[in-house]
């Protein structure tokens, strides 16, 4: 099978709708934060399409869309206008959707993504970097939501008019993994920008891949199918993988592919035909007369551009280049912008930060994540912890200077997370400073050696494991505060003296 799979190549384009997380809706003052609210409680004459109501542009939504466009390396239209897209459906209260057609706000962009086979379950340090071209990204309004119960359909217009960004790629994706990588990168960008949750389960991000297979080396496109109702990134990947296999089988046996819209049956892991090919819909677009054209001047664009932070992939590259981190560390640390910012603040507070970044990375990935997980704090809320990045930097330096050992430091960190107190205070208050007094440690070591003659002989006989036991005994006697390096050296010395 795998051998044959090379005879066909898949060509995938992705259409993604992302709800923008503005306070109010696209064209009215209703709250856009309506997920889970009682049906039809976030509505007004405008988003219900009442006769006489008129739309007013939410400037913030335009800015959010521009931010995503800039993050996707798009050109931003300096002049654009709104258009009406006409079609009939009960969830569309006006009978048309205000959208953009001829002149999308953002166009001609691209995004680099690192493609890894995440399905395999094992981490791949090496990734293939692919550039996916973005054809356009335009702003429109979301529709309401239909629920069918028995013979009735109920419509909830809470979502009607929530700003929606439609992002369309060129047909540049070549595998299920690439589609997955593209969508996770997009999701991450939206979250980095703070313009949306891009939560697929809640419908805040909705993806419709269209795909076709063609013989490898061919430049013509095959028959296209579209896949709908995909509720997770995994579903997207699985559905595409399933379709590649299904279509390959058909083509290889000389069959042909039908142009259809498919649904994805998550439970059974199969696609099914949702709609047969239909004549192209005529949406009768024309410029929206209720809204003036949108002009984006340089000052506004510059203001918005300044709000676009350094994104995950760029940070990963920088961490690897400047901090010498592994791809794994870089990916984990940048998964969430709040964590990445926090981590970088630690590095910035460390003397010769880049040189000590690995230590900071270890602390974040082990201790910080452990504390947050145990307290049920999501990574995105790292700033709500009382402990501040500069304090972790201080703690790291205290370990390095030998003020406390690593073991004690973990407890101090825990205490910092509780109170937000400085590590020195905690160490002083609790008398946790490392014992590095050679005379005092020598007494401890001598006592341990005297108390464990049998184990000393075992060490001398080459049983190194037992040496660890003796170190532990000495550490215990210092109540964990002993300087581990010094204990090692002194213990070795004392044992050697016992050699007959």
């Amino acid at each position: 099978m795998t051998e044959h799979e090379t005879d066909y190549e898949v060509v995938i384009g992705m259409e993604t709708h992302i709800e923008l997380d503005t306070a109010s809706k696209m064209f009215c003052a209703c709250s856009a934060q309506c997920f889970g609210a009682e049906p039809n409680t976030h509505v007004c004459p405008v988003c219900l399409g009442m006769p006489g109501a008129l739309p007013v542009i939410n400037r913030r939504a335009v800015e959010y869309a521009m931010m995503v466009g800039l993050a996707l390396n798009c050109q931003i239209a300096r002049f654009t206008f709104w258009e009406r897209k006409s079609y009939w459906y009960p969830d569309l209260p006006k009978g048309y959707q205000i959208s953009q057609y001829q002149y999308p706000l953002c166009y001609d962009g691209w995004i680099d993504v690192d493609v890894r086979d995440v399905a395999s379950g094992t981490w791949q340090e090496h990734a293939e970097r692919r550039r996916i071209r973005i054809r356009r990204a335009h702003l429109e309004e979301d529709t309401g939501k239909l629920t069918h119960i028995g013979n009735f359909s109920y419509v909830d217009y809470n979502r009607s008019g929530v700003p929606l960004l439609e992002i369309v790629t060129e047909p540049d994706l070549r595998s299920a993994n690439e589609a997955y990588a593209y969508l996770s990168a997009l999701q991450q960008i939206v979250r980095y920008l703070g313009v949306g949750t891009a939560d697929m389960e809640k419908g805040a991000m909705r993806c419709e891949p269209n795909m076709s297979l063609r013989p490898k080396g061919s430049h013509e496109l095959g028959v296209k199918v579209e896949i709908k109702n995909l509720n997770s990134l995994r579903a997207v990947r699985d559905a595409i993988a399933y379709e590649i296999e299904r279509q390959t089988r058909i083509l290889r046996s000389g069959g042909s592919i039908q142009q259809v819209t498919l649904g994805w049956d998550e439970a059974r892991g199969v696609t099914y035909i949702q709609r047969e090919k239909e004549s192209a819909h005529d949406y009768r677009y024309f410029p929206e007369p209720d809204l003036p054209p949108l002009q984006v001047d340089e000052a506004w664009l510059a203001e918005v551009r300044a709000r676009v932070p350094e994104l995950a992939l760029a940070r990963q590259d920088r961490y690897r280049r400047d901090f010498g981190l592994s791809a794994y560390d870089a990916v984990v640390l940048t998964a969430d912008r709040a964590v990445a910012d926090w981590f970088e603040a630690v590095v910035a507070a460390l003397p010769n930060g880049p040189g000590r970044a690995k230590a900071a990375a270890n602390w974040v990935q082990s201790e910080l994540f452990r504390v947050m997980k145990s307290r049920g704090i999501p990574n995105s809320a790292v700033h709500t912890l009382p402990v501040k990045p500069a304090q972790l930097a201080e703690l790291i330096m205290m370990v390095e200077r030998g003020v406390i050992n690593h073991h004690t430091a973990k407890h101090v960190f825990e205490a910092m997370c509780d109170s937000g107190a400085d590590p020195q205070c905690i160490v002083e208050e609790r008398g946790l400073a490392q014992v590095s007094d050679a005379a005092a440690l020598r007494d401890v070591v001598e006592a341990v050696v005297a108390a464990h003659p049998q184990q000393v002989q075992q060490v001398l006989a080459g049983q190194e494991k037992v040496f660890g036991f003796l170190v532990g005994q000495a550490m215990k006697a210092t109540r964990g505060k002993g300087n581990a390096q010094m204990i090692h050296a002194l213990l070795r010395e004392a044992i050697e003296r016992q050699r007959a």
Partner: protein, 494 residues
């Protein structure tokens, strides 16, 4: 009582301010007159008797407190395409027969705030589509000058209510002539404002890029008072703009002469098809302007002829989308069918009248793939050219004087079978709508049947001030606007 109902806003306000009459007395006078004349004229779709009395009493309390606004206690009626909170708003359509809005149009809330009294909602062509008010689902409105004649449209109810003294002033809307043409046919003053000067929020849209709100009044001074009350940028209407407010005092005290005024007479407005008496009356009015000191010159608006074609692409195109919301799902009429599409078809089939359906089809066709460029895009280009015509004309003259309607009021039923003939009734009003400029219709004569003739004074965009002043000056020297139809109740009974 007759005297009370024929008062202008300015006169009524003076009497109210002097406590010579109360808002309640004034309102009762109108309600009584409505009760008497409404069966013959049918200007109203809904008469809001209780609301009117309530509002009148509220106005009297405000007057007693010494409050003063330009419309406090003044009885006004509203074209039924403007939404009114808790007051049925039908747009003249079966599809909204029982629709009661939860909110007020911006212009309506402005009137409320000023303490105007609402007498009710006025009849009009369905969704303001028509030139005779015969397209209303709620019956024909009759011209008070001759009951077998149409009042014009689509603001026919508004024009009749003002002409027959059923209200002090009325709100109307003008998309292609819907204020000016009925004003002309009923012998009242009607100002179509520059596009964007008055908020459209709460106006049930017909053609969004052409729709304007305005008033029909008894004279030009009242038109200025109403403009002042209604105008201003509205944050709820992105196409509204802020212009320097109208100076009512300057209109009231307009100069008696028109020295230095340059009046253009567009030659394309005096072509074949115009009724002789209309041309004569309009020419006489222009001669009067000249006699008052104006410099009159012929100008050309060469694309006038194209206006009708462009309008009947653009307006139906926008209407086809604007009326898509009436689907039986959320409000208004629903005729349940076998499935969703069937429900849509039955609801709209039963809810819309023939002219509305015709325009939806025209507009849908014009926007369809493959036709869009040939129709809609082309019509927009024509529109730009028409705008340029006006710009060029206003580079030479201050104001244009022309007929409003090629004919006086035509017999009811005479054009209903021929939509094209009906469309031609707006041939002189459409260009100003397409260009977004302002224009007023004022009475300037009568034909041999005693039917009123209107003079159209067109100004540049946001040139209402001068248009109103010239109209006022003209009305100082003429009495056409003061003449009243003979509505002797005994003669009406026959």
């Amino acid at each position: 009582m007759r005297a009370l109902c024929s008062l202008t806003i300015a006169e009524a306000r003076r009497l109210l301010r002097e406590r010579a009459v109360s808002a309640r007395e004034l309102t009762f006078a109108y309600l009584e007159r409505i009760q008497q004349l409404e069966p013959s004229l049918h200007a109203f779709i809904s008469v809001a008797t209780e609301l009117a009395i309530e509002m009148a009493d509220a106005a009297d309390r405000r007057i007693a407190r010494g409050e003063d606004t330009p419309l406090l206690g003044v009885p006004i009626a509203i074209k039924d395409v403007l939404v009114t909170r808790d007051l049925r708003t039908t747009a003249g359509s079966r599809i909204l027969e029982n629709y009661v809005p939860t909110w007020d149009a911006t212009v309506v809330s402005k009137l409320r705030a000023m303490g105007a009294v609402f007498l009710g909602k006025l009849n009009c062509d369905e969704f303001a589509m028509g030139s005779s008010t015969e397209n209303s689902a709620f019956g024909v409105t009759r011209n008070p000058w001759r009951l077998d004649r149409v009042p014009g449209g689509s603001s026919g109810g508004s024009a009749v209510a003002v002409a027959a003294d059923l209200c002090c002033a009325a709100l109307g809307t003008d998309t292609g002539g819907s204020i000016r043409q009925p004003a002309a046919l009923c012998g009242v003053t009607g100002l179509k404002n520059s596009y964007g000067r008055i908020s459209r929020y709460g106006l049930i849209a017909f053609a969004s890029s052409l729709d304007t709100v305005g008033a029909l009044t008894k004279d030009a001074l009242d038109a200025a008072i109403m403009l002042q009350a209604l105008e201003g940028r509205d944050p709820n209407d992105s196409t509204s703009v802020s212009a320097p407010p109208v100076d009512v005092h300057a209109v009231e005290h307009a100069p008696e002469k028109l020295q230095g005024l340059r009046v253009g007479v567009p030659k394309e407005y005096f072509t074949a098809g115009i009724q002789d008496e209309v041309e004569e009356a309009v020419r006489a009015a222009i001669a009067q302007l000249e006699a008052l000191g104006a410099r009159v010159q012929e100008v050309s608006l060469p694309r006038t002829e194209l206006g009708l074609a462009a309008y009947y692409i653009i307006a139906p195109a926008e209407a086809s989308a604007n009326l898509a919301r009436f689907d039986g799902v959320k409000y208004g009429l629903r005729v349940t069918g076998n499935d969703l599409i069937d429900t849509y078809c039955r609801t709209r089939g039963a809810g819309f009248g023939a002219e509305v359906k015709r325009r939806i089809m025209l507009g849908t066709y014009a926007l369809s793939a493959g036709y869009y460029d040939a129709y809609y895009v082309r019509a927009q280009k024509v529109r730009t050219l028409i705008k340029q015509d006006f710009e060029q004309a206003f580079a030479q003259v201050d104001i244009l004087a022309a007929p409003v309607s090629p004919t006086t009021a035509f017999p009811i039923g005479s054009k209903t079978e021929d939509p094209l003939q009906m469309y031609l009734a707006d041939v002189f009003t459409l260009p100003a709508s397409l260009a977004g400029v302002c224009a007023i219709s004022i009475p300037c004569g009568f034909d041999r049947l005693g039917l009123p003739i209107g003079l159209q004074l067109i100004g540049p965009a946001f040139g209402e001030q001068r248009v109103l002043q010239v109209a006022r000056t003209y009305q100082m020297h003429t009495d056409f606007h003061l003449r009243k139809p003979n509505l002797d109740l005994s003669s009406l009974a026959s």
